[in-house]
Point group: C2
Amino acid sequence: MNFIKKFEQRLIEKDTILCVGLDPALPKQRKKNTIPSKFVKKSEDSEARLSFCLDIIDKTSDFCIAAKPNEQYLRGFTSQQHMKLTNSLRKEGLLSIYDCKLGDIRSTAESALYYFRKWGYDAITFNPFPGNMEEVVKISHESEPYLGIIVLTLMSNPEAEKFMRYAIVKNKPVYLAVAEDVKKYNADGCVVGATGHVTQEDIRLIRKITGNEKVFLIPGIGAQKGDPKKVIRAGGKNIMINVGRDIIYSKNPKVKAEEYFKMFNKVRKAD
Amino acid sequence: MNFIKKFEQRLIEKDTILCVGLDPALPKQRKKNTIPSKFVKKSEDSEARLSFCLDIIDKTSDFCIAAKPNEQYLRGFTSQQHMKLTNSLRKEGLLSIYDCKLGDIRSTAESALYYFRKWGYDAITFNPFPGNMEEVVKISHESEPYLGIIVLTLMSNPEAEKFMRYAIVKNKPVYLAVAEDVKKYNADGCVVGATGHVTQEDIRLIRKITGNEKVFLIPGIGAQKGDPKKVIRAGGKNIMINVGRDIIYSKNPKVKAEEYFKMFNKVRKAD
């Protein structure tokens, strides 16, 4: 089944647009927002991070449609550890999106896709700068199992404006050219920020270009204080809002996930 | 010691600009250009790939200044396996460049840099599309040990022209704006293609903007048939030419590496 269909089915079954961001940082890595010591004490670094992720999945799965493990926090994971993670997500009925921002070409990209497929992810994020979206989408959709491609379209960090908004290609800002490529090459969705310089009008414009069915993955709500109303109204039906540290590092991830679940659904149902 | 100084010292000691590309593909992954069955037979996937890489390093180190393991072929490696790889490179006097095309922001990028440093790489490749080169260079240079940042500037695949050459920011093509950022934010070097649409004039322009000392990492010679004369003459002194499959999958990697070593030095010495 293709990724968009899988997403739409899951949206009906679970009636939530919350995606939990799995960003397990070790205490030796930084001071704030790290995994609790009980996980670190009993095992080596990768096993500690995996146990923490499995625990978060267990606590939050009722309120989530998907989980987005970020590669930068999972470095050093073995193939087996990735598979344990995706298996747990599959069992709980959650989509698994590997946030790896793949940006490589030809046989090299193909090698990465071999592993992502083997590891059991439903979709990955993709950096379109090397220009080979068509090629990567093709390889990802034509082999089994199907792998969704969600394309970095407009990020919300201030410096992202330079190459995404102010760079102009064929008379339009790069982020709209990327959105056109998403439609043209049949990618599965877009990563669109929810805060900073990204306006409601930006999200509306991207949605207009891609059509209604592409899945928008929207980070920036939660600790980053983006406005859920803004993105839910402009983003349309097929969106997932990612919340990471505000859930996973809270005292009670289950309660926090439920809060976001209710907050998002209140806006969705009111519209 | 900073990466450029380390490179310049190594260039004097070893008198070579050859960088060997470590792209270990498993036989079950594709039909051509895969690691010999003797490595695959005796161990599981990651150990097989590691043994192959260590064998290539052993055979080619006399002729190389650096090795560039590509992340897309090393997926599933543990931290220990990465450390074994960089230890072997250090012992043989080779620089280690992790070709991971990092393109992430803030604390997320910082998490990746934590692992790259722990694994012992001398430098990584960086995708500038999210616009945060300044931030990533700062984190990479200010913590110990120093990590070099080599920025994707102009890639040689045909589709790369769209966002790198034809997209215009502040009246110039994106690839020249990226080259300016490399200079301004004090990154350590540029990835510049050697074939396809990339001309000698492109390489000269990038060198003019960045100044003479930045290290250019140049793929596209070897199986991709780029012209070494073109890149050596336009690239200047501080360049590394990466050759991957034409060495590592040849019948005799040692002989092949020596051929490239001699070919490049002939051009260098003639100029």
